[in-house]
Amino acid sequence: MKLRRVGDGGEFEVDILATEGSTVHARVDGIDFSVSFERIGDNAAIVTVNGRRYRVFGAALRDRILVTAGPMGFEFARVEEGRSQSAKGLATPELCAPMPGKVLRILVKEGDEVEAGAGLLVLEAMKMETTLYAETPARVNRVLVEEGQMVDHGAVMIELSPAHAPSHSESGPPG
């Protein structure tokens, strides 16, 4: 299956090939490796990779897959094959709210073609303004929110379609 790291938009193909006892043979982006996977609770496991053991917790939450390995947290989304086809070149065909907040400013309008790095929308949350950028060129199909509107985590705010080139995400470049 194909998963996407939420934020940086990096995609990878991961498959579980086989298991023998507690050993899991996996393939990530064409590279095969084996891990030991021992469940120690409903959503907890000890995963050993290259002799290093990680206490891992995992859960699915709405459209996201949350995983921690030690203190590190990861957020993934499943890239659905059919959808991925129809929105080729975009990691997601939608700009969703990465956290609950208030839409401060909408920087694009329907029909706009935007370049990679163009600001799409400014969200206010936790006393900070966060600008959400296009990571690749895209076309703005629909804007579903208004300035001043409160949005929940995951709310679709802008619908996009591919312009000329590959992938997009709701993350901004490091500032």
Partner: protein, 507 residues
């Protein structure tokens, strides 16, 4: 003659970890506690921990935690005789301190006049200069001509700062004459928007300074003591994220001069309660930065070295008692602030529900936090989830304990900075204490968990979650077997537990 006024019931005008922290100390003094909470915090730990709790309004801080009238009314309603403001929110607003006093209540902090004098950056600098505290060369003027003259004298780069501000808002680094006018205008505008006061001042920009601050504590009997220093150089966008005491590598003579300077400043204003005098340190020179007239977020590193309780001291002082005798400091302490931010994605604020939580413990480990399983972390307030503090006989022991403790921390459901902090504390530059306020830009310019430990484990686990073979929706277990059954006596093989899922069949 100092007026003694026993505090019987304390209202804590704050939330989160600091509200809980204050409640704990008040309880050990036999003081009853009143929590206030916005509608977003009704289920929060500080509400459960207090002897009484009262709702003060909707989630927006301006309508709840910043609403001084409602808070003072809550104190009246509950019969509280004192208010502790914590940090942030109303803690540095002289008008709040004044209103509390006028309502006949004890304000746990310095008097409004002291707060007002030191809270204004220009006035604060004047007081510090008069007290003989070294100042970064600077000019208190917003006129481009004056500032150009200053820059011609001291050289670029220079720093433009808001007189009324804090937290980096309104700050601009100016590298040359041509940038000056635009930067001045923008800084002033930003200061006006943020603080309602557009005044700015300029000073010499130090290339690689450290941020070191001195904890002071004064009582109404004329006692004023300095409880060592804290190095808070590791900052991101002027927000401290790692603090420690003592400041590594600081010479004894510099330390002694810095403590003396802080005490001189405190004496000049008749400082009362806990306060912090912040300095920029450049080699063995130090320059006044500002005074924070409240408890600092990072106060625990001082507590661990001195074996004292700064909140208890504040409460004692507020009731007219003397500062406790404090011995010489021992060992070293480090604090890491774990924030609800996605460190991999430009530290974007994160929100969510705590689905699973593992908190560190053990010798020399303290974790001040309001986190618990089920907590909903929203977007209304600041992003601090908890402070992990370690103590050791040496800095190196405290540092290693921090690495181990951060390794024990796990929080599923809210992206946070624990992994980022672990990588910093485990790093060579941090181990050799190569500290400056540019530490992160220098050594961690583009930190990413994908370069880190555990990414393969996470990817495999994610694939298993996606396919339903591991974890559960929303972190809630589906099968009641584990909790309902008797203590299991035989270890099941992973195959037994997992073989029901298609993914575990070869394909």
């Amino acid at each position: 003659m100092v007026k003694r006024r026993q505090i019987g019931k304390l209202l804590i005008a704050n939330r989160g970890e600091i509200a809980l922290r204050i409640i704990r100390s008040a309880k050990t003094l036999g003081i009853r506690t009143v929590a206030v909470f916005s509608e977003a915090d009704a289920k929060s730990l500080h509400v459960a921990a207090a002897d009484e709790a009262i709702c003060i309004g909707p989630p927006e801080a301006s309508k709840s935690y910043l609403n001084s009238e409602v808070i003072i009314a809550a104190a009246r309603t509950t019969g509280a005789d004192a208010i502790h403001p914590g940090y942030g929110f109303l803690s540095e607003r002289p008008e709040f301190a004044r209103a509390v006093a006028e309502a006949g209540l004890v304000f746990v902090g310095p008097p409004a006049e002291v707060m007002a004098a030191l809270g204004d950056k220009l006035a604060g600098r004047r007081i510090a200069r008069e007290a003989g505290v070294p100042m970064v060369p600077g000019a208190e003027s917003a006129s481009p001509a004056d500032i150009r003259a200053f820059a011609a004298r001291e050289g670029y780069p220079i720093l433009i700062k808001a007189s009324a501000g804090g937290g980096g808002r309104g700050m601009r680094i100016v590298g040359n004459d041509s940038e000056l006018e635009v930067a001045l205008e923008a800084g002033s505008r930003e200061a006006k928007a943020a603080f309602g006061d557009g005044r700015v001042f300029v000073e010499k920009y130090l290339a690689r300074p450290r941020h070191v601050e001195v904890q002071i504590l004064g009582d109404a009997h004329g006692n004023l003591i300095a409880l060592g220093e804290r190095d808070c150089s590791i900052q991101r966008r002027y927000q401290k994220i790692i603090e420690e005491s003592p400041a590594p590598g600081l010479s004894d003579s510099t330390r002694a001069r810095m403590l003396d300077a802080a005490l001189a400043l405190g004496r000049a204003v008749g400082y009362l309660s806990a306060g912090t005098v912040e300095f920029l340190v450049d080699g063995d020179k130090f320059y006044f930065l500002e005074v924070n007239t409240r408890l600092q977020v990072e106060h625990p590193v001082t507590e661990l070295r001195f074996g004292c309780d700064l909140v208890a001291e504040q409460l004692r002082i507020a009731s007219g008692e003397r500062v406790s005798e404090v011995g010489a400091p021992v060992g070293a302490a480090i604090e890491c602030r774990i924030n609800a931010e996605d460190a991999a994605n430009n530290f974007r604020p994160a929100a969510g529900t705590v689905l699973h939580l593992a908190t560190p413990a053990g010798p020399g480990v303290r974790f001040d936090s309001h986190l618990e399983a089920g907590l909903e972390v929203g977007s209304h307030y600041d992003s601090l989830l908890g402070k992990l503090i370690t103590f050791g006989a040496s800095r190196e022991q405290a540092r290693r304990r921090m690495v181990v403790a951060l390794g024990e921390f796990a929080l599923l459901g809210v992206m946070n900075t624990a992994g980022f902090l672990r990588d910093i504390v485990a790093s060579e530059p941090f181990a050799r204490a190569d500290l400056s306020t540019h530490f992160l830009e220098e050594f961690f310019p583009r930190w990413h968990p994908a370069q880190s430990d555990g990414i393969e484990a996470a990817m495999v686990a994610a694939a298993m979650v996606a396919s339903g073979a591991f974890g559960t929706r929303n972190g809630r277990p589906a099968a009641p077997a584990a909790a309902a059954g008797p203590a299991t006596t035989a270890r099941r093989s992973p195959w037994d537990e997992l073989s029901g899922f298609e993914l575990w069949r070869p394909r």
